[in-house]
């Protein structure tokens, strides 16, 4: 009973925040509402007993997206005055997207197939890790994860084509010292999440997103000016996730017999391979997301 009421209130809150964020007149207001929405979404995933998704949503929705939207707002010289488009255009767009979403909704089976979880459980001992989600992401469907890293890299390369001039404001001394206090904690917890990923919810993506939030906080406070695309090794870090993945795939292809499938790890070293790939992926995700959110360091604007 109480849980049902909990669900109803949570749904009402989600809809209220989403609607208010879209209808809000000021962009700053919309961003704050959207951050609140991210927190609620993490709660919703936790309520649905999906801790993996809740972790990802907490790291992205509550942490990075807010920072991304606020830095984007600072980039505008002033509130952009949008030319009012003809009403039918947004309406057609919304109608089209809604129709597509509804059409894809019918594709989702009402009852999740019980065959796939059983299959995963059956092959879990050979995967090198004991958490099924990690086993699927880094072993059974490693190809998908590799392509996701590629998408992230393409996003960064695309964003670099549109140079923004983010004016820098020297952080208040309180926020600088506080960000310095916070960063070792973030480093520790993201390492913990990465390590936990083998046996429990966690893993490269969550750890990378958390690390990226830490780097973004430091960068917004004018630290880490070395973290720039100019440096060769930063570029290597960004590429590192993909490189480690492809190299691991090539090496394990050589180690196995003929006819082995691409990106399938030999059972004896699967755990180690997954940990190495995940570590490089974490660093790559963290640096890529940081560069995406805050861009290049610029000489700061003096303001007393």
């Amino acid at each position: 009973m109480a849980l049902l009421l909990f669900d109803l209130v949570l749904c009402a809150l989600l809809l209220l925040l989403a609607g208010a964020a879209m209808l809000s007149r000021s962009l700053t207001q919309a961003v704050t509402l959207f951050i609140a929405f991210g927190v609620m979404m993490a709660l919703a995933w936790a309520r649905l007993k999906a801790p993996d998704l809740a972790l990802a949503e907490a790291a992205i929705g509550a942490g990075l997206t807010g920072a991304l939207c606020f830095t984007a707002l600072v980039r505008y010289a002033k509130q952009p005055a949008y030319p009012q488009p003809a009403l039918w255009r947004p309406l057609t767009f919304i109608g089209l997207v809604t129709a597509l979403l509804l059409a894809s909704l019918s594709q989702i089976p009402l009852q999740p197939s019980s065959a796939i979880p059983a299959l995963v459980q059956q092959h879990l001992p050979q995967s090198g890790v004991s958490h099924p989600v990690t086993a699927v992401l880094l072993n059974f469907r490693a190809w998908d994860t590799l392509l996701e890293l590629l998408v992230l890299l393409l996003a960064l390369l695309g964003a670099r084509q549109a140079p923004g001039d983010l004016p820098r404001y020297r952080g208040w001394s309180l926020s600088i010292s506080w960000s310095r206090l916070l960063s070792p904690l973030l480093l520790l917890v993201s390492g913990y999440l990465l390590w936990r990923g083998a046996a429990a919810p966690g893993g490269a993506f969550q750890a990378g997103a958390l690390l990226a939030s830490g780097l973004v906080i430091l960068r917004l406070n004018q630290q880490l000016s070395w973290l720039s695309w100019r440096h060769f090794w930063v570029r290597m870090l960004v590429l590192g996730g993909l490189l480690a993945f492809v190299l691991a795939g090539a090496v394990s292809l050589l180690l196995q017999d003929l006819g082995a499938v691409w990106l399938s790890w030999p059972q004896s070293i699967a755990g180690a391979v997954i940990l190495i790939v995940e570590s490089f992926a974490t660093l790559a995700i963290a640096v890529t997301l940081t560069l995406l959110v805050v861009g290049e360091p610029k000489p700061e604007v003096a303001d007393a």
Binding site: L13, L17, A20, T32, M40, A54, L186, R196, S213, L220
Partner: protein, 90 residues
């Protein structure tokens, strides 16, 4: 146990008034901080209700990341402050 989670969620529902009405940016920011800490509490309760210890990690993450949004918002506040100063000096 789940009654506790419900009560905590209701306290968020009360906070939503400040998020929607403001009036200042800082009011909204503080409400988001309130959401963050209440969210941590709800996650802790839910991890007991569902016997899912992994939700404790989510709570940890949410608690740490509650600090991320203000860091970005400070930039925005600084910008507003500087712009209003420029306006007065003109």
């Amino acid at each position: 146990m789940s009654v506790v989670a419900l009560i905590l969620l209701f306290s968020m529902l009360l906070g939503i008034w400040r998020v929607l009405k403001g009036p200042a940016l800082l009011d909204r920011l503080l409400t988001i901080q309130l959401f963050g800490s209440t969210g941590v509490a709800i996650l802790l309760v839910l991890s007991k209700v569902f016997a899912l210890p992994a939700l404790l990690d989510v709570a940890l993450l949410l608690a740490i990341l509650a600090a991320a949004a203000p860091a970005a918002l400070v930039q925005r506040l600084r910008q507003q402050k500087q712009r209003s100063r420029q306006r007065t000096s003109l």
